[in-house]
Structure formats: structure tokens, C-alpha cells
Symmetry: C2
Subunit: 506 residues, 2 copies
């Protein structure tokens, strides 16, 4: 990568400060920033981070709700070559403590939270803790006022990781997927294309910024020089108010969130006509402008994961095809491989493997896992897929079991690990059972230690204390032995015996 | 660039053979190829080139009209790491001889042409000459039938140059701009986005494939797995017939070419409704489907050059703005620099300089020029521009003079060089004068040698024999001395004295 070909997020911002000198970049409560103002703040923040000892490769952690500061911190980290991680604020103290230990951040920017306060002791003693708000503003203001030009030109290699998102609890603990400038920019291009994001696009970030789904549209909007509206979290009336007030083109929304907006706007008090989005219900379609871009017309279908920057395939590239995942983004390519790394023929199931510009740079601090995931020069997604006769792709399901409940991914291994920390539990397996409301819900099959006792309620309460509440089993059954295939539970047998089903891809 | 991030043109083709097993890739006369068939042919052709001694970095030259073989050769060169150059077949024997000497191709694939036959002696003695047609087919068939998978996986680094296009006669001779896989793919993404090229896009390559304008849409269509229809050259009735027969979505067309189609279809015998294109005239708009993508709605505006892969900026990213060049593609960024490499403020004219993913890798065999063009890590376009107050860009004109006649770029230096080879000419300068039909036409100001004689007609005939006919002066005036600024003609003084004007950007 020669200098002439370089394109970092800082370069994108430097272009926007020139190309959109009066353009609104950020809206967040009372905060309104143009692109030059954002660039100035990012330059100061980068200066403050560098002065505070944040070196290339260091990590900066965000523990809070959505905020324009998430974008600022990402861009500032990019300038100094650091890696920014917005993490889930709603986790338990134990989960946050794990992130602090694993990521070992040099700087933590945080919002008031009991769990964060409790976990704080797990951070390295020299980590700098900065409260969002006045303390953050004072820190930013302390940054050197080096010319933005210089700061941008001194910026990192664009293949260097700049964003870390925790995901994929393969072994019961999540891993931080590292995404480079180049990967984020490539993924943004694929969304710009599929969503037909054009000049003037305004995105309302009302989903969590620690999830790739909200982050990917935030970054694509930034890439095209659009306007970003931040709100701390999804609240139906506030989302409606912001769509009207800021003339938002799109927001992070899916089924139940849309229903919430329809209810909030039942009396038509909000004008949501600026929103160009997916058709959902007659009431919704009458409130918004139904969009016909390949992204919206396909009801946002495709296959993705954090490790590929968001979406790997788009239904919009295979509308009417046999496979609901459509075809790969133009900047990636896909193979379906068997356990030996050989391609399986069309119609047969193999692991979805990928190459291309939007792929991640591995997980933070997981050399062995990274080597396995990149075997043969192909990223192994851990998901199973099938190439249909017409060439389109079908997502079949996770290679390791995954439960999907209320649009949240639940990895059995993670819940099992929590179960096994209960002193009375000898062994445990988790399956997904069909759930009318949530699609699936987790069910635990538990073997108690000889002579030990525990109630269903105690088991569930224990898990709730270990991991995020939505991952706790809704049902628990006790059994004498977990059937196994090698070292892992025989999930098929467990499903058959305990009513499992409705897995994603079924 | 790790293996996981690699994306070559061969990788794109390998994906399409899987994702579009029955999809028509290529139509050219009686030839119809699906993506798997194209991939098979490319694999054989790559095998034949490799067996014939074509090594990474070697050049393969095409001298002929448009053909699907141009695409095949490009893709095959990509697989073996060679550089493919489709050159202007309509050039004089002298111009073709220059290309043969400069490029020193290992292989020349050619179509019958008197100029090519005359120039052939200038090629290296060991260059392999292959006539398009039966000889080419026999050569291709001789290629090893290695599995396409293997061939693609053995492919070149995606930052390696794969395409060379002659352009930019700065010093009176053209230079071959080298474009890498990565640059071509990045540029394709920008067109996919701006032109909203979607699944099923069909492009009719009826402009010359040795020009970036036709090549860039050919490659973007390939990138999205669309269908490419080739025709040897623009012929209005044949273009109309192909649009109807192949349901083309787009073709390479501009003003006079469109008028030709309107005339050919005056009786409405062709159904051109599949074409989604730019509004032009009431007759034209009634024949086609007027397209509202940012590319077509902006009447294809922007700023570009071969060295940036095609377009650097798009009016569609600054519609309604002050600058007609709009804003940069999301994958590049732009600075306006003065002669010392410092940025000029908005409103002032500077050289348009750029960085980003679609930029070229320098010119073939021009180390000094390349160093100058990439000074300070910015590509210097050689063109002048201005950042308007609203951040949009205006193309002001070439830093060295350029004449634009019937949409063709004419560099005065090139015509001057031809003039000076006439035995009677001591010195010469070329300016552009306003021309009602062509916008501009070249006018020569000539100083004869002491005692020498030549008529206007003799001078024009001489130039016609040296360079492409459209570059010859339409007028010639004789004078005693050419006014100079340093070593170069004082074009402002020449314009004032000899009626120059209507330059691009005026």
C-alpha cells in the first residue's frame, strides 16, 4: 500500500471537512457539529490521547450508551493508530470485568453504571478512566491543536485495526473482532451501493453502537458525508421525534422496534415521511416512504457477522433466487468448504468461508483461534451454508449450535459455562426450544453432582448473575447424563429428547 | 495484504462461476459465454500464456477492434501476473511502432490492419504475434486444463498492475497508465454505487475499449456479474439492434452518438426501452427509459482521467452545488495543491491532487515522471481545479494546455512534436480555437526554417501521416517567432494573437 493509495477514516474525515464545510455531521441532543467542527474535535482528542501515552496498537474502551463520542473516539483512535472498542454497557459486572482483563485498555471512557463501578478493579492499574461528560470534554480540550492536516497525514496504515467489537463466544467467552480502516471502508461501500445511500443521507443510530448492525450504517453514512443522529437507546417516542425533527432517511430498526414506532405514532402526531425504509405493515407503510433500493426491497436480507464487517452476502444481489442469503458483496468472495478445506459441490452443506476487502484482521489476543479461523487463507465463519443450483447462497445454521431469541444470538457454550460454575452442577448442555414470542428460547439440560441439590429457580438465578439476562435458560430439566459426540454435547439427541428446534436456518 | 483480504479480478470471476452458473457473461456476434464458460476459457488462455513464457510483469498487447477477447486477455493476464494493454488500433504505423517499442510486449494479439503490418518490425524479435480469430482460438485451446480453482488461487497479488492504457502525451508521446486489480475493483465499486448498477445489469461496449470510459463500465458490469455485449465499433443501426436484442441496460454513448441512434431509430423500428440512460432530447427520452441514478441524473458529470481508473469526482455527490465536478468518490480524497505542494484555500486554483484506492500504479517505464507525479505521496493529475465555498469542486483546465475537439483530448505538445518533424519547420505551437461543431479545433502557429518553404496543405498532410487524423491542425498560420515562457510556448500570448479559446473548463 503506497501513500498514494492510502485511505484511512481520518482521510475520509479530512475530505469531508473540505467537501462539506457547512455540512451537519453529528446531531446528539444539544450537540450539533459540522464536519470541520468534528474534525477539529477529533484532532484535539487524538492529541490528548497521544499526550496521555496512547501508542499505536493500544486499546481505548467505551462503556456507555450511544453517543456521538463513540464516533469521535473511533476517529481519534484511527489517527493515533489505536484500537477503539465500544462494549456492551448492559453486561454484568463479571462480563465487563472480563472485557477489562482481556482488552487491557489504556483508556476507558465510561458512563455511570453500577456494573462498571463494580468491575473497575479488574482494569490494569495504569488504565486511565475518563467519565463521559465534563471530564471527557476537559480531556479533549487538553489536546494539542496541531493542524488537522498534519494529524491526518501522520495517521496509521489503513490496514491497521481501528475498531474492536466483542462477538462470538465460541468457548464460552466473547472475542473482540478487529476491523481495519480498509475493511470498514470496503464494507461501507457495499452498503452505499446496496442501500443506494446518496448525498444527504441521514442515519438515526437508535440501535446499540457496540453491535455491527448499527455501527455499519453509522460508518457508511460517515463515508458518504451524511448526517448522523445519535440517541442513547431505542425509545419509541424519542425515535419518532428525531425522525421528524432531523428528517432522517434511515434508522436502525427491525420488526418489534418498528411495531413500537407504529404504536407510538398511532395518532399520527409525528411526520415520519422522510424515512425511506422497508415495508412492514399497512400502518407503517402509510407513515414512511417505502424504499425500493436492493437493501430495502429485499427486506434487508443476506448473511453477515461481525468478522466480515457486517454483511457478507446480500439478498438484493440474488432477488428471486433459491437462496435467501443472495450473493456475496462485490468486494468479497465465498467458498463452501468441508472439514478438510475442500470445496463442497452445489447443493451440499459446507462451512461458509470468505475472502475479501471487508474481512476482519482476526480477534484481539487469540493467536490460536485466529490461525484456525484463517486456515488455508480463507476466513472460516463458523456458519454452515449451501450453494443452490442457481448459484445463490443459503445460510443453514451455525457450525456450533446457536440459539436465536428475540433477535439476539445465544451461544450454548456460553450459557453452559455459566451453568457449570454453579457448585451443584456437574455437567450441562443448552438447546433452543421453539418460542412463540421470541422465535426460540434457551433450555438447560443439567446433571447435578452426586448428593447436591438445586432448584430450577436457583439455577436460572445463578446464570442471570453470570451473564446477560436474556441468555439465561427459561426452562431447566435435570437428567442423569448428557449424551456426547466426542467432547461436545450431542445436540441432535438432546433436541429429540427435550423438544429442541426452530434454530436459525431451519 | 493477507490472503484473507485478497481480491483479484480472477477471484471475482471465480465467484461468478459459482454464483451465476447459468448467467450470460459475454455476447459478441455468435459468441455467447456463461460465467463458467468464460472462466474455463480464461484458465486455458492463462495456461497458454504461461506455457508460452509470459511471466509476471510481462506485457500482452491487443491491437484490434472491440472484442470479448479483450476481457478474456485482461483476465488471463491477471491470472499469470502479466499486464494487458488494449491499444488504439486506429493509430498510424508510427504511433503503433512507438507502442511496440515502449511496451515491449511478449505477446501481441492483433487484427488485420495495414498500420499494424507496417509497424510490426518495431516489436522485439522474440515477441509472439497471434492473429485474433482461428489462430487465437488454437492458442487458447493449447492451454493446460488446470482446474480454474488452482489457477485463481495461484494468481497475482491484487496490488500488481494488470491493465495498461495509453494516455497523457505530456512530452509529445503517450504513456501507459498501469492499473492494479485493487484499483480497478475500487473504481468499479464507485460506478456500481453512482450508477446504481444492480443484479442483471447489461452493458453494451460500443465505445473503444482502449479508452477508460468504455473500459470502466465494462469492468463495473463484470464486477457485479452482469452481462457484457461487445460490438466492434459504434455503428448506429447495429447498436440499436443490439440494445433491443440483448435488452441492454446501458451503452457507452454521448451527445453525437445519441443523435446517431435517434436518427437510426427515427421510424421506431427498434425497441430501446430496456436502456436506462441520460435524458438528451425529447425524441431520445421517448425511446429509452430515463434513469434517475446519481450518474444519469447528473448527466454523467464529474472529473476523471485514466490515471485514477476513470472518475475521481462525481457531480452526483454534489448535485446543485457550485462546482460542476461535484465531490470525490467515497474511495478517494482530493487536495488542491500549489507548485510547492501546499494546499490552496477554497476559491483559489490549484493542481488537482488525489489519493485513494482507485489510483493507478504509475506509468509503464517512466520512473522520473512517476516520481514527479507522486510527489509528496499525492498523485498530481496535471489538471487545475478549485474548491468552491460549498466544498464542491470545479475543473478549471489542464495545467499543460489541452484542446478538446469532438470529445477527444488533443495535447498541443503531441501535435507540436509532429509538426517539428517536417523538414521545413523550425518551431511550432498549437492552440485551440473555438469550433461550432467540435467545440474546439487545433490551430498551428509555425515558424519555417530560413529559406524553407511549405504550404498549409503540406503541413497538415504531414501531421496526418504522423499522428491520428483527428489531431491534425485545421488551420495553420506562419509567423517569425513563437513567444515563450521559459522553455514552453506562451499560450496566453498565442491565444490572444491567433484567436484561441473555448478550452475545457473555460
Amino acid at each position: 500500500m503506497s501513500a498514494v493509495h492510502r485511505l484511512t477514516l481520518g482521510d475520509v474525515l479530512a475530505e469531508h471537512r473540505r467537501g462539506r464545510p457547512a455540512g451537519a455531521a453529528v446531531v446528539d441532543g444539544d450537540v450539533r457539529l459540522t464536519y470541520p467542527e468534528l474534525d477539529d474535535r477529533v484532532a484535539r482528542l487524538a492529541g490528548a490521547l497521544a499526550a496521555g501515552g496512547v501508542r499505536p496498537g493500544a486499546r481505548v474502551l467505551w462503556l456507555g450508551q450511544n453517543s456521538f463520542r463513540v464516533l469521535e473516539l473511533l476517529l481519534a483512535c484511527g489517527r493515533v493508530g489505536a484500537v477503539f472498542c465500544p462494549a456492551n454497557w448492559r453486561q454484568t459486572a463479571d462480563e465487563i470485568a472480563y472485557v477489562l482483563t482481556d482488552l487491557a485498555p489504556a483508556v476507558v471512557v465510561w458512563e455511570e453504571s453500577e456494573a462498571v463501578e463494580k468491575a473497575r478493579g479488574q482494569a490494569a492499574p495504569d488504565a486511565r478512566w475518563i467519565r463521559s461528560g465534563e471530564e471527557y470534554e476537559a480531556f479533549l480540550a487538553s489536546g494539542e491543536t496541531s493542524p488537522p492536516e498534519t494529524a491526518a497525514d501522520a495517521g496509521a496504515d489503513d490496514d491497521a485495526p481501528v475498531l474492536a467489537l466483542y462477538t462470538a463466544a465460541f468457548d464460552g467467552r466473547p472475542n473482540a473482532a478487529l476491523l481495519s480502516h480498509s475493511a470498514l471502508i470496503a464494507h461501507s461501500m457495499s452498503l452505499l451501493h446496496m442501500r443506494q445511500m446518496e448525498d444527504g443521507f441521514t442515519f438515526l443510530a437508535c440501535g446499540p453502537l457496540f453491535h455491527v448492525g448499527t455501527m455499519m450504517f453509522t460508518l457508511a453514512t460517515f463515508q458518504i458525508g451524511g448526517r448522523l443522529v445519535f440517541t442513547p437507546a431505542y425509545e419509541p417516542h424519542e425515535v419518532c421525534r428525531l425522525i421528524e425533527a432531523e428528517r432522517c432517511t434511515q434508522a436502525f430498526l427491525f420488526g418489534p422496534m418498528i411495531d413500537g414506532l407504529v404504536q407510538a405514532n398511532a395518532d399520527g402526531r409525528y411526520d415520519l415521511g422522510s424515512l425511506r425504509f422497508v415495508s412492514h405493515s399497512p400502518e407503517w407503510d402509510a407513515m414512511i416512504t417505502v424504499d425500493d433500493s436492493p437493501w430495502c426491497a429485499s427486506k434487508m436480507g443476506g448473511y453477515g457477522q461481525t468478522e466480515v464487517g457486517g454483511m457478507l452476502t446480500f439478498l438484493g444481489l440474488g432477488m428471486g433466487g433459491a437462496g435467501f442469503a443472495g450473493r456475496p458483496s462485490p468486494l468479497v468472495h465465498v467458498r463452501l468448504l468441508d472439514a478438510d478445506g475442500n470445496e463442497v459441490p452445489p447443493g451440499e452443506v459446507g462451512e461458509i468461508c470468505a475472502r475479501g476487502h471487508s474481512l476482519f484482521s482476526g480477534y484481539w489476543n487469540r493467536p490460536e483461534l485466529n490461525a484456525a479461523k484463517a486456515a488455508g487463507g480463507w476466513h472460516h465463519t463458523g456458519d454452515l451454508g449451501r450453494r443452490e443450483a442457481d448459484g445463490t447462497l443459503t445460510f443453514v445454521g451455525p457450525k456450533l449450535r446457536m440459539i436465536k431469541s428475540a433477535n439476539e444470538n445465544i451461544y450454548p457454550a456460553e450459557v453452559e459455562r455459566a451453568l457449570k460454575t454453579h457448585p451443584a452442577v456437574a455437567d450441562a448442555a443448552v438447546i433452543g426450544v421453539p418460542d412463540e414470542r421470541f422465535g426460540q428460547s434457551p433450555k438447560a439440560v443439567v446433571v447435578l453432582r452426586d448428593g447436591a441439590e438445586a432448584t430450577v429457580e436457583q439455577i436460572i438465578e445463578h446464570v442471570r448473575g453470570e451473564i446477560a439476562s436474556y441468555k439465561k435458560p427459561r426452562e431447566v430439566v435435570f437428567t442423569a447424563e448428557i449424551p456426547k459426540r466426542g467432547y461436545t454435547p450431542d445436540y441432535d439427541a438432546l433436541d429429540a429428547e427435550h423438544g429442541g428446534g426452530a434454530y436459525p436456518g431451519d
